[in-house]
Subunit: 358 residues, 2 copies
Amino acid sequence: MNTKSNKPTLKENKGIAQPQIVSKTAISNIKKKRKSPLSSEKLIKGILEGNITALSQAITLVESKNSRHLKKANTILKACLPHANQSIRIGITGVPGVGKSTFIEAFGMHLTALNKKVAVLAVDPSSSITRGSILGDKTRMEDLVKNKSAFIRPSASGNSLGGVARKTRETIILCEAAGFDTIVIETVGVGQSETAVHSMVDFFLLLKLAGAGDELQGIKRGIIEMADTIAINKADGDNLKRAKLAKVEFNRALHLYPEKSSNWQPKVVICSAINNEGVAALWAIIEDYFSKTSKNNYFEEKRKAQNKYWLLQTIEEQLKSDFFNSKKIKKELLKQMQLIEGNKTTPFAAAEYLLGLK
Amino acid sequence: MNTKSNKPTLKENKGIAQPQIVSKTAISNIKKKRKSPLSSEKLIKGILEGNITALSQAITLVESKNSRHLKKANTILKACLPHANQSIRIGITGVPGVGKSTFIEAFGMHLTALNKKVAVLAVDPSSSITRGSILGDKTRMEDLVKNKSAFIRPSASGNSLGGVARKTRETIILCEAAGFDTIVIETVGVGQSETAVHSMVDFFLLLKLAGAGDELQGIKRGIIEMADTIAINKADGDNLKRAKLAKVEFNRALHLYPEKSSNWQPKVVICSAINNEGVAALWAIIEDYFSKTSKNNYFEEKRKAQNKYWLLQTIEEQLKSDFFNSKKIKKELLKQMQLIEGNKTTPFAAAEYLLGLK
């Protein structure tokens, strides 16, 4: 019996399932591939002129894993640097369901109405797997997406929070050089991502729901401690009374924390982003924060401290990855782990041995 | 005028203040210096025979900063390793004033009465500065100090928690080889020291006072989450009622945490160490924990995981210290930090440059 005739090969099968026509996507892909990439000089010029296409292309270079792209990205970043740093950077976090997209939409629209240029970025290390980044779902920010004064960019993808955060950190520089004066960085609050966002923003906003019962999580992970303001969202309808009560409770909780080095006493507000209520008041608080911390020099000092933090952080990550990704070390580490399993060596003797192989 | 005759030199002055007699301390120091140190072989033999002098000398080698001593320490540790691992390791923490010394005294006396051999160690990275380690003040453990079945050793001194913890981690091995079957590791709870202790013990006990108001701290720093049992101490006299109330509250709080991978539901007990009340009951809980986690294999798995953790931890620390302690890097890091201050480079470009110098 000829099995071949009975069982079509995978190739043949594919042929049946996918008739040989060229799809629209394929044409668009070919066009994209044919378009020669802009030179570093052109990209820099474009960014400084506020050209969104140039900005997007440069961000793609920053996010690339290709070393040639990264070299180009570094050239562009260096040229953009003198034009950066002229913005307010605001971090926004909150558990899923708190209404982050609706809030950012209302917040962004309020700011653009005040003639601000708003860039919305995200740090979401999970997005590469789940593609669940809220910013990926731009349909939730219908008006802001169409707004000429706003730029929305989903989270870079990557395996490590460090990598994703670093890319966002560099994207901030590009956006600022392109004239965006208000940078909003959203995080969905996976793992340590709030800490990463906190280390790259001037002002940290925590969105909360009344009675959501995630207070313990917030305290445990130090998120409440990081907040410069807590906004209790969805303070409307039946929720309004509970939101007002929660405001009192959060205010009490915040007073248990030691005073911040910014001399800023964190505020608690209620808002209803969907009804556009409380958003203007919140912006007034952020302006007040900016004015106060600029005067007492905290703003500038914090940015410098953040840069130094990122320098050390990047070095430490690289040292670890250089060591543990070496083939030799990988092999020997496995062996030492087995010796540890068998209680045949101490962790310290094993470490000494492995470091000796460097 | 001859100033010399008016102002006696320091030497002369000293001569007056300290007549040329040899003090008892000086004689004892000379004797100590003259006593030649025991060889590795003799120390190993001594430790395995349960000789306290040999044990103490070996611990001093482990704690030394002298590389020759450390080499000797490693030889001894390696020989002791097959005889270690036969103990229960218990971590005890609590804020100052909670009665840790009194508790450890009562707890240790209870265990030695049950024919246990108890070693009490400490992780206190601040001890080198403040010399404030509770174990340093052995007078608070009068009976236990005199007890032949107990061995008390104050915290190693050192600049970094990592270093202090590592030395304690190795001292555990020596104590176990010397026949101690119950290792108590105390920490005064400075900074991250609870996490370090948690990563080297089987059972973690948190001592609390009723209504001390440090609950938020405990939650924030993840200490309550680490606890296998919370003991509310000083539950006597006027305090008894409040302690019972606190027990109910802590029990409620503990239920907010997800189940532990040990399948162990953390307990809350009240005790009065000074009246020796509740100590036996607490030991019964620890025995129950030991029995349950031995059966479900968690005990063994946790120890292996801890060893692997310490392997990686030691390597990471060493990589950082090798890099940042290099003279060249120190100098160039300073320069790059200045460029960052002046906003002339990005943290990432600076990191790349510094790593290139390696």
